[in-house]
Symmetry: C2
Subunit: 345 residues, 2 copies
């Protein structure tokens, strides 16, 4: 909850085109496929020989983020990452992004600079080029629309629809940490609102806060898949929570699934924090959302490959559609898995 | 200012995924390059052998449109058209679009259906496929983000940067009509606000109102260019007004320009309406914006081709940079052309 003195330049003093030029002047082109970037009617991307993959997200202040506890630089970084995550979830490589923002006059140029600093960091880290966007005013709040464009060879693309009964159900990383990071920030916000003099208590919460504020897309996993010649049968990223996301794979593949409670990866910090909040750690892991891990299925023939890869957890199995989507609890009971997810409406 | 009874289904009753399914179920894929559409992490577009062209716009209620006089169906249509216009302005063919919206709970599903009906009409008319998007809630107002993706052969692409001294400066259609259509709607809105019982006086204004409410992108012109093997040296679409848009071509091409007042195409309805409003028709034509015509330059060698094409007006000439950007009035005087454009900040 730090406040920085960034100075204040009114956006109106630059004008729309001046603002675009100002915000994007330090972005360098990293991909040869980025034929022409910002400054014409449209970006030009040369994808000859590859399929083009496109993903887009719209983020709204007060719905998707709260500027009271999300620093603008982190917001810029995360806005890009959540889109790249969708491209990786196709087993594709993101190459270009467009970023559009609408802001009210409550924001200064310096505030937008912070946001674009985060965008730039993400571009650099993931090797993508900013090739376009739109900058306009809003009557209220901060709005962000990001479109990511990637490439893949046809035989590498992984859809949500390819899971088959008998496939292993896997997930990268761990689940529920981002949700618990958000709960900590929400608690501190409420405490601050009721008593602005109070000091936030966020010690030893770095891991959970980082998972929410600065998530990473699993580019590393896509690279490991390629190195090991592994092509999952179905894949998506974990944005709404496993219980909701898995439903998409099951519905589009026409299959059922069973998750083993003992196979659900939960970080120790998340477990401890859930208990402090009197929440069930498993519920947080299954319904939390915003983890941006990869949920995927692989043929049982690939089990040896999977076992040798870091940070992958076999969480269950794909079953026949008629068997539904179930959770096998460590107590031995079988429950229906109910999609709760994150609802914006 | 008609009101329609559309019934009312709360958006919350469908849920986010139900809403996406509901809104996009009647869209058919029209392009073989649309390999995979809505329903996965990302759309998949096969552009093998062509360059990919991408353009994006963010439209905000109260900034870019006023729902008091813009019907939602027109808004959906126009939101698509303004993006396609950017792709045509590259001399490229749009193939796919993504449409994201954020809406407050003031909107019903039926209202969104109207909007998507307009999106669908535009998709059909221009032969583009809706392949993705995002649907979320907003705290206030209606927000639209559209990204258009197109294709072109490398040798056909036209940038803003290719104009040379001696080139002819041309424009399609006529200028200023959309601006005057907007002025009529603004006047009627003010009258209505001060006296809700009053009947709007919009007779014989169909042309001007249509130019603002239902603009078309000049796909027809791009097709005619191709049929006649004409490749402009520079091109952009008229969104902010010629005086502002021409500055972009001049800046990026490193040239000057002179516009002949007698060459500026103004529709008779626009001329009459400007005079009724005690406005200078030429000022409306040069600064009006939202015409979505094509402003382009061609080599003087192509003058015979241009003369035989319908609806193209030679408006002036490209000059050396040192000569600046000027207007040669019909009274014989030379003025500096000042970019006023449309400012959102």
């Amino acid at each position: 909850m730090e406040k920085q003195d960034l100075g204040r330049t009114e956006i109106a003093s630059l004008g729309e085109f001046g603002l675009i030029e100002h915000l994007t002047k330090n972005f360098e082109i990293q991909n040869p496929s980025s034929h022409r970037g910002i400054g014409d009617d449209a970006a030009v991307i040369d994808n000859t020989g590859f399929l083009t993959v496109v993903s887009t997200d719209l983020l709204v202040e007060g719905v998707h983020f709260d500027l009271m506890y999300v620093p603008l630089k982190h917001l810029g970084y995360k806005s890009v990452v959540v889109n790249l995550s969708d491209i990786y979830a196709m087993n594709a490589q993101p190459k270009q992004i467009t970023v559009s923002i609408a802001v009210s006059n409550r924001f200064s140029v310096e505030a937008l600079d912070e946001f674009y600093e985060g965008v730039k960091l993400a571009c650099k880290f993931y090797g993508v080029d900013l090739v376009g966007g739109d900058t306009t005013s809003s009557q209220k709040g901060f709005l962000i629309s990001v479109t990511a464009i990637g490439q893949a060879k046809e035989e590498e693309l992984v859809y949500r629809s390819g899971a088959k009964p008998g496939d292993l159900l896997c997930v990268t990383g761990d689940l529920g940490s981002a949700y618990l990071g958000l709960q900590i920030l929400e608690r501190e916000k409420q405490l601050y609102l009721s008593n602005p003099g109070i000091q936030p208590d966020m010690e030893e919460q770095d891991y959970l806060l980082g998972r929410f504020l600065k998530p990473e897309a699993r580019k590393d996993m896509i690279d490991i898949f390629r190195q090991n010649k592994l092509v999952p049968t179905a894949m998506m990223d974990v944005s709404d929570g496993i219980s909701s996301d898995l439903m998409h794979i099951c519905k589009q593949s026409g299959v059922g699934a069973i998750i083993e409670e003992v196979g659900v990866p939960i970080h120790n910090d998340a477990k401890m924090q859930a208990l402090k909040f009197k929440l069930d750690p498993l519920t947080c892991a299954l319904n939390g959302g915003e983890d941006y891990e990869l949920l995927f299925t692989v043929s049982p023939d690939d089990i040896e490959k999977i076992r040798l890869m870091p940070d992958i957890y076999i969480m269950g199995e794909i079953t026949e559609r008629s068997e539904g989507v179930k959770l096998h609890s460590s107590g031995g009971k079988i429950h229906d898995l109910v999609a709760q997810g994150w609802k914006h409406f």
